[in-house]
């Protein structure tokens, strides 16, 4: 019985390990193949180790511009979507008003809509109205649109569990609603807002499908890869992907660390034993 049980345990752990390896193999392939010196136009077969691509990551025509465009759009759409989404989340969690349930549902629909449909619909609108011209602006509009719901959902989950007595205390002490928001509410929900922003940035810089529909002749990094995929895939693309990867992991770790710190700060209460002064010896 116990032997069989242990066998089952091992089987389960082993299976989970395999699943984890499955998840990580493609990333390892990308990191490894960024050091490849491929013969021919595609980076599919290992030839020899080389630092060339890492030394000159932007040697491929157009890739630098594409990355720059992607970073600009990601930054701007993150700021836009985070501000609009946080406001929406605040309204949805903190206030009771007519139409809250339908609004909740409406926010959810874009998340349940296939990306092709989101992209195609927006393009229909731009084509029919003839404005704005397809390009940077339309990509930005699209990215804020699809990021909004993600931000709302992320910030909302942080807001639900929020201790309102802290705000009441601030107001009792004479703070105006704006001061209360800036000095109490915002710092407390900041970890949620930050992770929403991080998610938005990652989604934006990675988006291909919706961008593909609304880009006109502007080229973002994913669009560049799409164009290259059928012609030639130089190792530089793998290098830049590795850079983005390492940068995102670093940001992620930073956010987690920040969040831990914020949680520690939020957890400080007067009844915290560490804060209660030792009774003076009699």
């Amino acid at each position: 019985m116990t032997l069989r049980r242990r066998g089952l345990d091992w089987l389960l752990n082993g299976f989970a390990g395999l699943a984890l390896i499955y998840l990580l193999i493609p990333i390892s392939v990308i990191l490894v193949f960024s050091f490849n010196n491929p013969r021919g136009r595609f980076n599919f077969i290992w030839q020899e180790f080389s630092f060339d691509a890492w030394k000159h990551p932007f040697a491929v025509q157009g890739v630098g511009d594409a990355l720059e465009t992607s970073l600009k759009i990601a930054a701007l759409s993150t700021i836009g979507a985070t501000i609009l989404g946080t406001m929406t989340a605040l309204a949805l969690v903190r206030y009771e008003f007519k139409g809250r349930a339908p609004v909740n549902f409406f926010i959810f629909i874009p998340l349940a809509t296939p990306e092709v449909v989101l992209g195609a619909a927006l393009l229909s609108q731009f084509l029919n109205l003839g404005t704005p011209q397809l390009g940077f602006a339309t990509i930005l509009i699209a990215h804020i649109m699809f990021n909004l719901s993600f931000v709302v959902v992320t910030v909302r989950s942080r807001l639900i569990g929020f201790d309102r007595s802290l705000e009441e205390a601030a107001q009792d002490l004479g703070a105006t609603p704006w001061e209360t928001f800036r000095l109490v509410t915002l710092p407390l929900i900041m970890p949620g807002v930050l992770s929403a922003a991080l998610l938005a940035f990652a989604l934006s810089i990675d988006d291909f499908v919706i961008t593909n529909f609304n880009s006109g002749s502007t080229i973002t990094f994913p669009l560049f890869i799409w164009g290259a995929a059928r012609v030639a895939i130089p190792p530089q693309i793998y290098v830049i992907a590795s850079m983005i990867f390492l940068f995102t992991v670093a940001m992620m770790i930073l956010t987690v660390w920040q969040q831990r710190r914020a949680e520690k700060m939020a957890a400080v209460r007067p009844d915290d034993p560490e804060l209660v002064p030792e009774p003076a010896p009699a």
Binding site: L23, L24, L92, F97, D206, I244, F245
Partner: protein, 290 residues
């Protein structure tokens, strides 16, 4: 303005920009695409609104193969993700110990690599002269002239891989919330492992299963990148058709009609799931003020 009225206006003012953006760039485009789907004409002569509902039946008739294939591939990928993801989520939730967060990070790490590159790396892995194919050939699973790239196998493998984290995270969230005492109670009542799993753990993790399958199935059914990069036109899904009708052929009415048909099928599936699971679990709105 009296203070009470001003206070009542606050939530609407907060909603205005975000909701306005979605109305303008999500809802309105859907309406315009709806009109687009009822037009006839060509890109040269222009499209006129003729309320041509036949666009829908024509689209369905001409592309039924791709529709069926989309749901077939998405279904296969969803089932595979569940089979791969559930044990992993289970192990992380119940046995992860202090490595839990590190393991979770490993699960979402694929997200940090550009989607297209992730897919391209499968092209490297499954390529004809790659390790996987040669190993499978030597074992005899793949015949000598056989290949994995450009087949159903590679496309489904790519889709499964790309959406696997969407399955694992909600599964983990629901498994992690399970009160360990319930499992102990099950064992105390002489439940065998299988009984405890089937009658306690699995039912309690159902919200995660429902959310995970939806989050995997919906994007998978609309995907066209995997079929385009890892397959041939024989593996093309409905997303490929919409993409090429819109951006290559400029046959907007058909593309628009196909988009709506895809959305309609999805909606039916989501509603069926919502029936089974309850909308609360689906929208993630539990715990909000009623």
């Amino acid at each position: 303005m009296p203070a009470r009225l001003r206070k009542a206006a606050v939530p609407y003012l907060l909603l205005l920009p975000g909701l306005g953006w979605l109305l303008l760039f999500f809802a309105a485009p859907l309406v315009i695409m709806g009109l687009e789907s009822l037009k006839t004409g060509t890109i040269d002569t222009g499209f006129q609104l003729t309320w041509a509902f036949s666009n829908y039946s024509d689209a369905l008739k001409n592309y039924d193969e791709q529709f069926i294939r989309s749901f077939e591939y998405a279904g296969m990928a969803t089932v595979l993700s569940l089979l791969i993801g559930y044990p992993l989520a289970y192990v992380i939730a119940f046995r992860g110990g202090r490595y839990r967060n590190a393991l979770l990070l490993a699960v979402i790490v694929p997200f940090f690599v550009t989607y297209l590159i992730r897919t391209l790396s499968w092209e490297t892995i499954l390529s004809d002269s790659g390790l996987v194919v040669s190993t499978l050939k030597s074992v005899g699973i793949v015949s000598d002239g056989g290949r994995l790239l450009d087949t159903t196998v590679s496309v489904v493998a790519g889709i499964t891989y790309n959406y696997l984290p969407f399955m694992i995270l909600p599964l983990y969230a629901s498994l992690e919330r399970i009160d360990g005492r319930l499992l102990e109670a099950g064992y105390d009542l002489y439940g065998r492992r299988r009984d405890v799993f089937l009658r306690v753990t699995l039912p309690l993790s159902m919200p995660g299963v429902v959310a995970g399958t939806l989050l995997t199935f919906i994007p998978a059914a609309g995907d066209f990148v995997n079929a385009a990069l890892l397959g041939t036109p024989h593996q093309f899904m409905i997303g490929n058709v919409i993409q090429s009708r819109f951006l290559v052929v400029a046959d907007y009415p058909t593309a628009a009609a196909l988009s709506f048909l895809l959305m309609a099928f999805m909606l039916v599936i989501v509603l069926i799931w919502a029936r089974i699971a309850g909308t609360e679990a689906l929208l993630g709105t539990e715990g909000e003020r009623a």
